[in-house]
Symmetry: D2
Subunit: 301 residues, 4 copies
């Protein structure tokens, strides 16, 4: 099949990735910190830059960088979601060729240093590995304008030492795995949730609530498979937060293999494990409310 | 907006990621090596595993791992594309609940060690950082079966020391960037191309040809922007290889900033640069033949 | 200078690196977790393996791996220091050619999942990025046997938003830096402390105390330079823990640059910063008690 | 043992790490590139900065950064070793408190893009993963001045598909490894060589020669253990390059495990392997000429 049709530019986008903005609030002696990694992505009428090298519609990515920093000052960076909405809206509203803007934010956690039980005013220790994420898309202007907000968490590493099995699975000629009724379950979660609306509630409260829900369900669900655990986590998040339209969960199955100590005359009743790197199982699930508003371009990168 | 509709599992998939298969061919004294990282992803009738923890339809990811290794022996691993097609087809054809299978392969390059100009029979040195990629999807069985092959290259780091400018761009109140008519252009490319068919030509020959084309156009295109360079690279690849339906290019703009030596009484006419890490521009383009066959689920992860 | 003397094997060592041992204690419903990365290094009479390929003195690294896992079961893995001492002693005491053994342990932190304020019995969430480290060396047998224990912490990321300056520094013809009396101070610490003895106190208590001391001094020291801060941290640790012989601190100066918002008509009084990646300052200090016992081969890798 | 002696600052150093200097030579249409990562480390009379926060002796790391860039222009950056010598000498000779300076350089390889067999004048593709390294130390001034140069290579990944065994090793109660007379041998080498002098020969020629020697000996040595292979590589390098005083080799044993295909009714005569990540053997050797000049502080970080 030798194709001969004209060659068409079918999609394109550009932006500035990984602007490392650190914003302090110092109105009081007790400072506040926002430590974020911001990426901007613009879509719109930029074809001529590709086809002819014509930059007249292209706002430099250097300008986008400036804007990401500027907006942390004014209108400001309190919640990452409101900051990202304002930034996305700015590009769509003021830069003519832009038809839609997406802002991705990673937000790093810091814990105040405590000295003899008292929190310090301006010193923190980094918390991780988990990272809070947000992805905001704004498209169109005026009455036509639409916005989507996706919240999330990544690198949330969870482990339970019992309460997990894997048995009664399908087998074929290449299956050697023995069923087990007690194993370690561990994963490093990436979860994203799409909001049904973009204001009228407390972003941080919802984030904390979803995080607590994910942890709780991971702990309390007797797991017949990681699939089931993900489903339970996602369902509970949607049930408890009716402002959520949809939730996507990606989870590596971080295998912990029983170390064979019997060959050395020692017992090992699920006490000693080898934590393997690769390969790993990879499980994904998306759950949505049947009455959720359309996702539109919310998930477009 | 408090959503109250039923919660639905709208998408799911699972598999075994990053099986590090190394396959030698030793029929002759001159050995051959294939060094690959293989990930399997299955879609199909697996809902019950999520909703009820019922594994009866779930082929263990451990079995998928075995199969990835087994298939490197038989039918074998010569070209990564044919290997991936066979593996994907196996899952769809023999595992009843599977509706589609995707196989992702990273293939690492090795160069024979040369001793006084003679290539050694069984010793290699790793070549990189670039990695050859393939993503094969097979869906359906029998006469309905469809296959898609996406070839690619990633971590292909290119740099040119002149022949690049960035000027006459859009400005706004936050723009401070000075136009330049001579700059360093550097990127670390991720390129993927979708084939219009899945047999009837030499996979390795096409790969080598596309890689050479990408390098050539990067070098010879006078660049008014990375956008234009990507467009030129993609267009040339589609033009020269009519078996290609579509090509996607992702490119960080790895900024090299002129170091200000004038402040120290030294000239610096584009000789001394600071190679920055973050932030970086991020440019994306997709080009397709107008008469390309449908992509179907080829790009679904 | 053309050297013609005989070629001598002047140093050698070998071992098994990065054994990922996960050990649970399940005597009670409330499980305990120890998640460690263990590396073994043996020195001794292994020359013939190098010079003649004679393996008769070489205990396979595979055996060392087994031993690392076995010892987590028996004698057991409660504190990483005692586990490492037992493991090192085992190699020196029972493997004839071994003259000294070093065990390096990275220990990963896990926090119990809390549900409505109640800690879960067998589910944890990973804490980081900081990692507790230990490096134990045992040399010789019988009455001649010597042991050294080095405790430590790495990837401890600290930041203060004020209380730091850098001024009155040396200048030369290439100095352009402006002095500052209020800046962000941030670092990712690697600290190691050598113990004066290897028993008779509580390893975990000392670890917690040193960590708290490092955080406290970072917070409360008005910093005229990162050098001064490191010195204050190290001094306080030695003062408060007389069981410490020596402490080594390595600290990148993770630069946070004021973002120039004045050019956009906005003030920025140390509120908005760009967190840079590279280059970074790199500061190192070692402090010791004058009456500390000899380090011997404690710091040999 | 409660130590009570005074607390002493026993060692300290500081500098600017990872200055990413890219230097082009554009005298002719055929440009040349030098792409390096430079770290500076100063030792000397800096105690007061630690003990009192007195910066009067401290040359800012920002100035050291400038100097690294400036010196790539003048005196220039042709060979990394001469560049590093000049830079180290500058700090020792012109900055009074400095007693010794160490310059570490990683040098990244670039290959010219070839178009129809013709090399392009100003476009390159990155070669790797291997990296050339240099570590230069200069101490003292005037007639007392001493210099040491350490060359090296890192991330040199080598693999041979046969010609390697591991047998007749020491066993103990925990040994289960079966001897093998045909296995895959693979490693990612870090090698450093200390020069007996610092001028009078061609740095690049020696580098190319040592690299070729390492590859040749890895290929042609029938390996009874990685130890033996390292010894053969190091010995040959010292023999062929009498300007070398000493060579240090560090090598992970990147295990490739035979995949058990017999359980699936398939043969596998060293054809199909699983490339494991962790744990890995870790082998180290240092060889030196008996008449080598003293290392002094050459290996001090």
């Amino acid at each position: 099949m030798a194709l001969t049709g004209p060659i068409v530019l079918t999609d394109h986008r550009y932006g500035k990735a990984e602007n490392r903005v650190v914003r302090f609030h110092k109105e009081n002696a007790r400072h506040e910190i926002r430590d974020v990694n911001v990426s901007t992505t613009l879509r719109g009428d930029f074809e001529a830059a590709y086809t002819e090298g014509d930059q007249r519609h292209v706002l430099p990515t250097d300008t986008q960088k400036h804007t990401a920093f500027i907006f942390s000052k004014k209108p400001g960076l309190d919640t990452v979601e409101d900051y990202a909405i304002a930034l996305a809206k700015h590009f769509v509203d003021t830069v003519d060729p832009v038809s839609s803007a997406r802002i991705d934010v990673d937000s790093y956690g810091w814990q105040r240093v405590s000295i003899d039980g008292t929190e310090h005013d301006h010193t923190w220790v980094r918390q991780g590995p988990e990272v809070r994420t947000a992805a905001v898309t704004v498209a169109g202007t005026g009455a036509e304008q639409q916005s989507w907000v996706i919240g999330g968490i990544k690198d949330l590493v969870l482990l339970k030492s019992t309460g997990s099995e894997f048995a009664d699975f399908l087998t074929d000629e290449y299956t050697t795995l023995a069923p087990t009724h007690d194993r370690v379950l561990a994963t490093s979660l990436i979860v994203q949730w799409r909001f049904a609306e973009t204001s009228g509630f407390d972003w941080d409260e919802v984030y904390d609530g979803i995080r607590a829900t994910l942890l709780e369900l991971f702990a309390t669900t007797y797991s017949k498979a990681l699939q089931q655990t993900l489903h339970a986590m996602g369902t509970a998040a949607l049930e408890r937060f009716p402002v959520l339209a949809e939730i996507r969960l990606s989870a590596p199955n971080k295998h912990h293999f029983d170390y064979d100590l019997a060959q050395f005359g020692l017992g090992n009743v699920n006490e000693v494990f080898w934590a393997a790197d690769r390969p790993y199982g990879s499980i994904h699930a998306t759950l949505a409310r049947a009455d959720a508003p359309e996702a539109g371009i919310a998930w477009q990168p």
